[in-house]
Symmetry: C2
Subunit: 299 residues, 2 copies
Amino acid sequence: MKPSELNIAFAGSRMDRADRLRTDASALDALKGPRARLLLLDGLAPQLGDDGGLAWGSLADADPQGELVFLGLLEGAACFAEVKPALWQGRVAGPNFRQLFGMIAPDDLAIYGGAKALVDWHARHRFCARCGSPTMMTKGGWQRNCTAEACKAEHFPRVDPVTIMLVELAGAAEPTVLLGRQPMFPPGNYSALAGFVEPGETIEEAVAREIEEEAGVRARDVSYVASQPWPFVSSLMIGCHAWADDDALTIDRNELDDARWFTRSEVMRAFARDPEAPLQLPPAAAIAHQLLRWWVARG
Amino acid sequence: MKPSELNIAFAGSRMDRADRLRTDASALDALKGPRARLLLLDGLAPQLGDDGGLAWGSLADADPQGELVFLGLLEGAACFAEVKPALWQGRVAGPNFRQLFGMIAPDDLAIYGGAKALVDWHARHRFCARCGSPTMMTKGGWQRNCTAEACKAEHFPRVDPVTIMLVELAGAAEPTVLLGRQPMFPPGNYSALAGFVEPGETIEEAVAREIEEEAGVRARDVSYVASQPWPFVSSLMIGCHAWADDDALTIDRNELDDARWFTRSEVMRAFARDPEAPLQLPPAAAIAHQLLRWWVARG
């Protein structure tokens, strides 16, 4: 199985981002006509139409006190999402991704995910981090500028790179992978280890550091497999594979409830939903699930 | 040549980030003794010692009005960098990376790069983007918290993922690659196309979008090659390769001064510093240079 054949949730948007229009204020205004579509959100959750797809309204449905983000062009129509005042006036919890997934077609999920990350960013960036003055949306919602004359700092939507990795034990009789569980996971669930990339490190260095920190395992020969946009809050999940030569674990109990080596046949039993399997898998929407699919198929 | 054999500037730090200590306030305090080392900066540029390496002082050299960032452990000593008031009171330009590179040994450059990105982030995040109140450093400089009781938002150092790509023309008589030049480049310089990953897209989707936007070329079969931390301001450069089937270009003149296809022999002449070569290469510190090394060696 090639990584490109995996089902990466929140990827595959059919929206044309039409970035050239973002900097063209008059073109953007002209797009805000009766044909323009507004992605309907309930807080940060998607509203669904009768057909189960994303519900779209017109700009007449938008709150005049809100801000409009230009998502792009879809089937010839300009698409917008709204940053409603309620989103910045209070704290609006994001939807539970387990509820979203399976309800919404993949390409709609991708459109929603991109919009949610962007709307959420605007709601949390009303002020300039540099000087504390209010910021103002510009470039169709792809930038905010500080309104203080003495500052005028420019701010851009944030995407946080996160490494997530399958660590495989070299020389094992059967292919064997390291998985861990966070305390918040449902009982029996294990997933790939993961952590944010920090300033000053490569993807490969971040992978090796996380494995060492969380499980006390030295990893080598990190390779990239696949990536995923993850809108909770706004991460770029960078899925990798690495090798380990030693199976001894020193688990960081502040981060992990447990970490264990699982054989391929154990993971395959989990995929088959065998009630006797020693683990349950992360949901299919998570890239960890897809990385495990790739790993099992690799043989 | 394997990607792991490339010389990735700003990678390869020998600092142990010792992240477990960040959340341990008493351990951090205990580390701030006479053995602790302070990375000496001149604005955001490194100070150099007589041996040409990074200059280190002690915490006695720190401004009492400044903030200390815990970088990690090096040769048993706790290492810190300082966010001086001057950094947030005015705008301090970053150093020119072309001047840095070649002056500083690779592992020192990596330590400096990580520290610079982090110090710079603190200088630009004195206030809460959510509510505009002052923020306060915590966790050894790996987090800032909003000081307003009603908000208490948590803020984390930012790393911006950027895709940078070699687009290769399928079916060409000689291996042929697409490079572009930004208006700010020195005359004759060409480099790989690049752009920020946006919310809602995978690495592969970001690569394809950038190539389409900047050069009007449809790319396929994107593959990851190597990555680089780039502390100007704080990016994670994600180096990729992609294939194109059509050599027709539609150049976005707002972004690029020019874009052209170059053959491998033309790129090799540039590596050989042939004055008649039709291009000059990006500096060796840039991952674009390293991607071209990899591509030329791949044959």
